[in-house]
Amino acid sequence: MRHAPVRPSPERAPRGVNGESPAVRFPDMKRMKRRTGTGRTERSYPPLMLAAAVSVSLIALIPLCFVVGYSASIGPTEAARLVFRPRTGELLWNTVRLAAGCVLLCAVIGVSAAWLVERSALPGLRVWNVLLVAPLAIPAFVNSFGWVSLMPGATGYGGALLIVTLSYFPLVYLPVAAALRGLDPALEESAHALGHSPWRTFLRVVLPQLRPALLGGSLLISLHLLAEFGALQMLRFPTFTTAIYDQYQSTFNGPAANMLAGVLVVLCLLLLLAELRLRGRARYARLGAGSARPSPRTRLGRGTAPVLLGLGVLIALALGVPLGSLGYWLTMGTSSAFPVGMLVTTTLTSVGLGAAGAILTTVIALPVAWLCVRRPGRLSVILERSTYFGNALPGIVVALALVTIAIRLTPALYQTTALLLTAYAILFLPRTMVNVRSALAQAPPVLEDVAHALGAGRSATFRRVTLRLIAPGLGAGTALVFIAIVTELTATLLLAPIGTHTLATQFWSHSDSIAYAASAPYAALMVLISAPATYLLTREARKGARA
């Protein structure tokens, strides 16, 4: 920390990395550069901050290194025997066709819904907007529980495709709606003036501009599907994740489980690479905020009734069925049979783990985000990217890696809350990182300099200036991680310490033995806990996109 001088010191200035540093002649240049945000400064990395950031990145890389190391350690012949067998092909085919089908359906549903809400004169726009995001508050495994407990036939490919689509289409709807809102109507008007029909204008002018949002949402859905366990297990549709769990139950962390995990990691990394490339291109494609003028809304006329009906059916399927089913099973279990004590303890455990994990994750995101924003450079980028793998690693892979490593290297950590929280941090670091980074980027460093100049110490400056500026970003990041942890199932199943039951694991153990009425209250509590945070985040997202 000592090496973060506010005032440029004469003996440091000439050693700038920018070649012939103008700082020699204009000592104030450094501060000006930071103020204008042109990026690279010649300041060194504060050692404590750097050490913290490096440790966080190393922890985030544990699962990936483990999978690679494990595959190498069992040797090519054994690895090939375990990977190249018909079962792997079957799982690959299932995983790929589910992801492809789901992405396609979500794209169609998400874009249509976003267009209706943003561009048409649909009655009840605000209500529809909330309803179209609301499925995010229902974990996919609760959704599939809702369906399967009422319609046991809703299994296999068809059932799985229907149910994951209903769970995940908001992931396309949200970014596409935001992008539509930001589009400059002038382009479409020009297309009209040049003689394009409305439909052709949409295909040729609007859709290409939505591409980054659409592809980003699709990739997110694919990653979610690769990691999805609970929903697919309940729907009897085997994919890599469910197969790894079956292997885990039969062999604990045996070679077959770890090799399947290796294949899954490769799939996830391919998607992650695609996403990174896409992000690079996204900047090209996206326009600036453009004019503040809102686009004119298309009147639906005679189409209003069928469109309302269609949206109604969509919401009925995505929200009505799971919530209705939960309600049904809640009333089936008589109130005296409600294990109130158990419900209260598991709720407290879930909320406590969620809060502790969310705060831990956000706190450890800070040093990496700080370096990335305030000391941009190759090292910072590498550190930040390494925390990004969590996005692509399914809970089961992270948990399996931590179980094996803890047993072999750190038995004292094994079966502790600390290890579970570590898994959460690895898994959900990327979700909070985005928020922390952009919050820091928006906090002008000049204010910190002013505070220093006025005599505030480093920690006082952080507390009274920086922290207050970045608090909204931290809060949003923390809330995101909180929801994710409360509804996390797979890693919790493997890593929860003895006697620790969360809402998700209790729900799972009951629905596993088809005791639907017994599992319903746990599912309802999960939905209740995540609903307000989901709503809050949607409103923030709307506002953010408008600004």
Binding site: G153, R236, Q249, F252, N253, L348, G475, I498
Partner: protein, 341 residues
């Protein structure tokens, strides 16, 4: 700044909850001298009832970690001497054999061994059986009549059963049944049988789900353990009304009776109390709780008769199999080869 104001209460709330969580976390004293740690792969409610009886009688508290047979067995092997577990309970014996084969068990007290009939105890006396379950074929009574049922469990791998039969292949229950097929018919026959099943069977996530599917007519028959059917009949019959059970006979591998095991870990720091727990589970009081419970598994020790709702154990005709020889890892390997895992 408006955003800040709105999020401030959220952050404050989360911070408050964290402290609450930390406070909750503190009262779980793991190294309490009087508390046993039980790795339990049996049904939670059954074991909770039996353990409650034990705690009431002895004052010894028991922490339970739940998991599946092989998950916990492999975990014990990996944990080695560092394992926090004192006692291990399984649903089926192959997982006990796995742990025993790695030398993790201490010998069970002679007094306890004497409470259990010899056929349910391995000759090493390193663990004992404390409950049993019988393999059955549940069939849809509208789709099938008794005369159209298979003679042997081996027959469901024949082409005429394609798409008509269900199993819970991922579970230790079914894997124990496969181990019986290996023990009675040999490895090659078992491998062929599994290949046939891969082609024929719909795979479900548990015996309960198999029975439900049979009841709904999704499949005509499914291989399960007896108590799923009896439990459902005792409750509402909602998932079994249109099903009946076929007990295989003639010492067919399909008549296999699987033994749930209990053992004391060698690494346990509470040997005396751990032995006490196993003694209680196989003793008259423990067995009575088992027999009276809604679990409807067979009580087998201390002369306590099985629940009267069940077909008596003496009327079953299981193949004679040494409980110590059922091989879990071999079964998993065969099932991986067949593509069922």
């Amino acid at each position: 700044m408006r955003r800040l104001k709105r999020l401030a209460p959220v952050v404050a709330g989360i911070a408050a909850l964290t402290m609450l969580a930390a406070a909750c976390g503190n009262d779980s004293s793991e190294s309490d001298a009087g508390t046993l740690t039980l790795y339990n792969a049996q049904h939670d409610d059954l074991v909770a009832a039996m353990v409650a009886g034990f705690t009431k009688e002895t004052g010894i508290k028991v922490d339970i970690r739940s998991g599946k047979d092989f998950e916990l067995a492999n975990q014990l092997v990996q944990e080695g001497d560092a394992s926090p577990a004192d006692v291990f309970l399984t649903e089926n014996s192959p997982a006990m054999t796995l742990v025993d084969g790695n030398g993790r068990f201490a010998k069970v007290d002679d007094e306890t061994v004497a409470q259990v009939p010899a056929q349910y105890v391995p000759s090493s006396h390193n663990w004992v059986g404390f409950a049993a379950r019988a393999t059955v074929l549940a069939y849809n009574s509208k789709a099938l009549t008794p005369d159209r049922l298979p003679e042997s469990i081996m027959d469901v791998a024949k082409p005429e059963w394609q798409g008509k039969v269900g199993v819970a292949a991922g579970g230790a229950d079914f894997q124990a049944i496969v181990s019986a097929v290996v023990a009675v018919k040999g490895e090659q026959a078992a491998a062929d049988w599994l290949k046939g099943l891969k082609a024929n069977a719909k795979i479900y996530q548990g015996n309960g789900a198999v029975m439900k599917a049979v009841n709904a007519g999704e499949i005509q028959a499914g291989v399960i353990y007896h108590y799923y059917w009896y439990k459902d009949r005792a409750e509402s019959g909602a998932n079994s009304a249109d099903t009946e059970l076929k007990f295989f006979d003639g010492k067919d591998p399909g008549a296999f009776v699987s033994i749930s095991g209990a053992g004391v870990l060698k690494s346990s720091k509470h040997q005396a109390q751990a032995q006490q727990l196993v003694k209680y589970l196989t003793g008259e009081n423990g067995q009575r709780i088992l027999s009276d419970s809604k679990a409807l598994e067979y009580s087998i020790a201390s002369g306590v008769p099985a629940n009267p709702a069940l077909k008596p154990l003496s009327e079953l005709d299981p193949p004679a199999i040494d409980v110590a020889t059922l091989n879990g890892p071999k079964v998993v390997e065969l099932m991986q080869q067949a593509g069922l895992l």
